[in-house]
Amino acid sequence: MLSYLIKRLLGTIPVILMVTLAVFAFVHMLPGDPARLVAGPEATASDVAAVRAALGLDQSLPHQFLTYITHTVQGDFGVSLKTRRPVVEEIGMRLMPTVWLTVIAMIWSVALGLLIGVVSAVKRGKWPDYGGMILAVSGISFPPFWLGLLLINLFSVRLGWLPTGGYGTWQHFLMPSFTLGLGVAAVMARFTRSAFIEIAREDYVRTARAKGVPERSVIWHHSLRNALIPIITMVGLQFGFLLGGSIVIESVFAWPGVGRLLVDSVSYRDYPVIQALVLMFSLQFIFINLLVDILYVLVNPEIRYK
């Protein structure tokens, strides 16, 4: 297990390098000159040139890439072109709001999604199944933007129970995490249901029933445990996506997260921030994948890595 982990960790290095190169190339291929945006609307051509030199953007691309890599390896992500704050600080103050929102949304939506999925599978073709799947389809179909405004209208404007947006107390989390998690819960419900239905046809489930294992144990112990492998894969994927920050949710609820930062940075061609964010998102995905692999082992001891 340990040697497997080390191997996996080492294997991520070329992936990270490739990602870094791709991000750098992509960012620098975007049309638009950051020096122009930094220098300001009234800057003369020579001012813009001076700014370009000051930012190091007049160097050749390979040279810039090398500088970028050397600095990144040392943990220096540079300074935001827009706000002139260090990139680490800029991302730091927005990361936790996004992480907490993601974690809370994932917890309730995975739990609820699993429950609905299992119930639907067990009661297949009966009203709980139809009810659950209607909920799931609605959850996937609600545009989060519309749902968010609807919730604000109901709970903030009409009832006055919850703040319209922003980050702070637990009340601030309720509407954004609900809106964010709804789609995940719906996907999880549908996914769990189909995984469960597959498992129900397996011989060991029939055997368990035949030898008189109580139905409750058949469902929650024998079936769910085996259905968990694809479900965990799905959770990992969803988690990775959500950690990138939902631009729609963060906009509607004025959530100070990394999704909004990325959009703002792209429109300002804030190279250092874009590069650092995309690198961070890739690292998150790599880390989550690793976590998912470890969970596989924990869930199913039969899986052995060599």
């Binding site: 975007l30 049309p31 638009g32 000159d33 122009r36 945006l37 930094v38 220098a39 300001g40 609307p41 009234e42 800057a43 003369t44 051509a45 001012d47 813009v48 001076a50 700014v51 000051a54 827009k82 706000t83 002139r84 704050r85 103050m93 927005r94 709001p97 519309w146 405004l149 609807l150 604000i152 209208n153 903030s156 404007v157 009409r158 009832l159 006055g160 703040p163 319209t164 947006g165 922003g166 906009s251 509607v252 609820f253 004025a254 100070p256 909004r260 930062l261 703002d264 429109s267 300002y268 061609r269």
Partner: protein, 508 residues
């Protein structure tokens, strides 16, 4: 349910259940975009500049009608040819860190701003100054290398606001994270999307009436409106015109509209055929119904343009009109040899309002057989394809829809960057590539004197000639719209889309 009916129902909801009274005397202002920085000499967007007026002040500034008023200056004198300005300063002002405001502070600031090595983005405001002389503790003399009649207006621009020299020495380049000024509020915190300032009890005009001011970026306009309805925000500047109807009937909210100094136009690239032909340019002007433009693009909250600059700028004159007249337009097109029309494309920044405007123009111009292809450009792309073009011959732009506001409140910055022959991109914004010797002479004449009457004469000439020359399709001047809770007084929008919050107070 559409967004609109949803919002209407939310307004009805508030009417039934009024939100509770605000306890703390904190003023929260909800704006769309994030601030970009806190160093007034190095930010380019109106929102950041105007927010910084809470903390900083200039030698001169503007009142709510954009009239130039002295702030840290008491008075000024200039010589006849506008090359020397002697400014008397206030005696009773201290920066938030206790440093005295005096002539040395002014010199430190202006020298810092005009030094090209500092790469400050607002340098052009003072780049004509060749020497800042400290005459005595409270008198400075600015010596210019060329006449510049709009000097005082430039000093009123937020980019020329005065920073504590002690703070500049202490923080250097980090000054934009530790702003220290003379304004009514002291900087507290600038987080991901929120700027917080608190009352300066030693403010030289007397302490403000609210404890704290919080400026929060809330990108979604429906959410900003909800914040007003729940009392989470008290002031929402630049309120979207299409949402006005929703809150108009709410007794707890008020909406204020007033003319802005943001004029919208379509620049026609005079170097490109057929826009090199004045008759074609005039025909396009006659073919567009400006009243309809105002109704469609700005929900009627807009006035048709009557000059190259809006009425709110100093030295504006009514330069004439291009009343909607299709017969005349067709006749001019025929005289220019384009009775069968032509095809061209129009560029603009990609946003809802610009798209609406371009679609409207497409429909209007189709009436004289001009076939318009709409090309929205993302900001970075626009910067590259329009504003970074090195030589006029390389310019691909044919028509460009946009707006301009002169944050100095003066005709100079409303005309010179846009229509002086040499001010084409990448240096300035003459994207019409318009050149007219007489207009150039009038613009240059106006900045070579500080005498208001002479400047007025020059600007009248420039406006009338440029109007007749029709480098643009003149469209309209949009209104400002601000929404606020009824219990707040003293918050105003400025005609350049900034705002004044210093006199804010709660009426309870």
């Amino acid at each position: 349910m559409t967004l609109k009916s949803l919002l209407i129902s939310s307004a009805l909801g508030v009417a039934m259940l009024a939100p509770g009274a605000v306890l703390a005397k904190d003023l929260t202002v909800a704006i769309q975009n994030n601030l970009t920085g806190l160093d007034p000499t190095n930010v380019n967007d109106t929102l950041s500049q105007t927010s910084l007026r809470l903390i900083y002040q200039g030698l001169f500034g503007f009142d709510e009608d954009m009239n130039l008023v002295p702030l840290l200056a008491e008075s000024y004198e200039s010589n006849g040819d506008a090359t020397e300005f002697t400014i008397k300063l206030r005696h009773d002002v201290k920066f938030h860190d206790g440093t005295d405001f005096n002539a040395d502070a002014v010199k430190t600031n202006l020298d810092r701003l005009r030094n090209p090595d500092n790469n400050l983005s607002r340098r052009s405001l003072v780049s004509m100054i060749s020497d800042v002389q400290v005459v005595d503790d409270y008198t400075v003399k600015l010596v210019l290398d060329a006449p510049f009649g709009a000097m005082i207006a430039s000093l009123a621009h937020p980019g020329a606001m005065i920073i504590s020299p002690a703070a500049l020495a202490e923080y250097g380049d980090d000054i934009d994270r530790h702003p220290v000024g003379t304004g009514a509020f002291i900087f507290q915190n600038w987080a991901a999307d929120t700027l917080e300032v608190s009352r300066n009890d030693d403010y030289w005009k007397g302490p403000a009436k609210v404890d704290n001011v919080i400026i929060r970026s809330v990108p979604e306009s429906g959410a900003r409106m909800a914040m007003l309805q729940t009392g989470e925000a008290q002031f929402v500047p630049n309120f979207p015109p299409e949402l006005i109807k929703v809150i108009e009937n709410n007794p707890d909210l008020t909406v204020e509209t007033s003319p802005s100094i943001v004029e919208y136009y379509v620049a026609l690239n005079n170097n490109k055929e057929p826009f090199g032909n004045k008759k074609v340019r005039q025909a396009l002007n006659y073919a567009v119904d400006k009243d309809a433009f105002c109704k469609i693009v700005f929900s009627g909250l807009c006035k048709p343009a009557d000059s190259i600059i809006p009425e709110g700028l100093s030295f504006h004159v009514n330069a004439g009109d291009y009343d909607y007249d299709l017969d005349k337009a067709k006749q001019l097109m025929a005289e220019a040899g384009y009775e069968d029309g032509f095809s061209t494309e129009i560029w603009a920044n990609s946003n809802t309002e610009s798209l609406r405007a371009m679609q409207f123009l497409q429909q209007q111009l189709s009436q004289i057989n001009v076939d318009l292809n709409i090309v929205p450009l993302e900001a970075g792309v626009a910067a590259q394809r329009i504003w970074s073009i090195e030589t006029p011959e390389d310019a691909e732009v044919q028509m460009y829809y946009g707006g301009w506001s002169s944050s100095t409140g003066d005709a100079d910055w409303g005309i010179r960057p846009l229509l002086l022959g040499e001010n084409t991109p990448p240096n300035m914004f003459n994207v019409a590539y318009f050149t007219d010797d007489k207009v150039d002479a009038a613009i240059n004449g106006a900045i070579s004197t500080a005498n208001p009457e002479e400047r007025a004469t020059h600007y009248e000439t420039a406006q009338k000639l440029a109007w007749e020359g029709a480098p643009w399709i003149f469209l309209g001047v949009a209104d400002l719209i601000a929404a606020q809770t009824a219990d707040v007084t003293g918050v105003h929008m400025l005609p350049d889309r900034g705002f004044l919050l210093e006199d804010a107070a709660f009426s309870e």
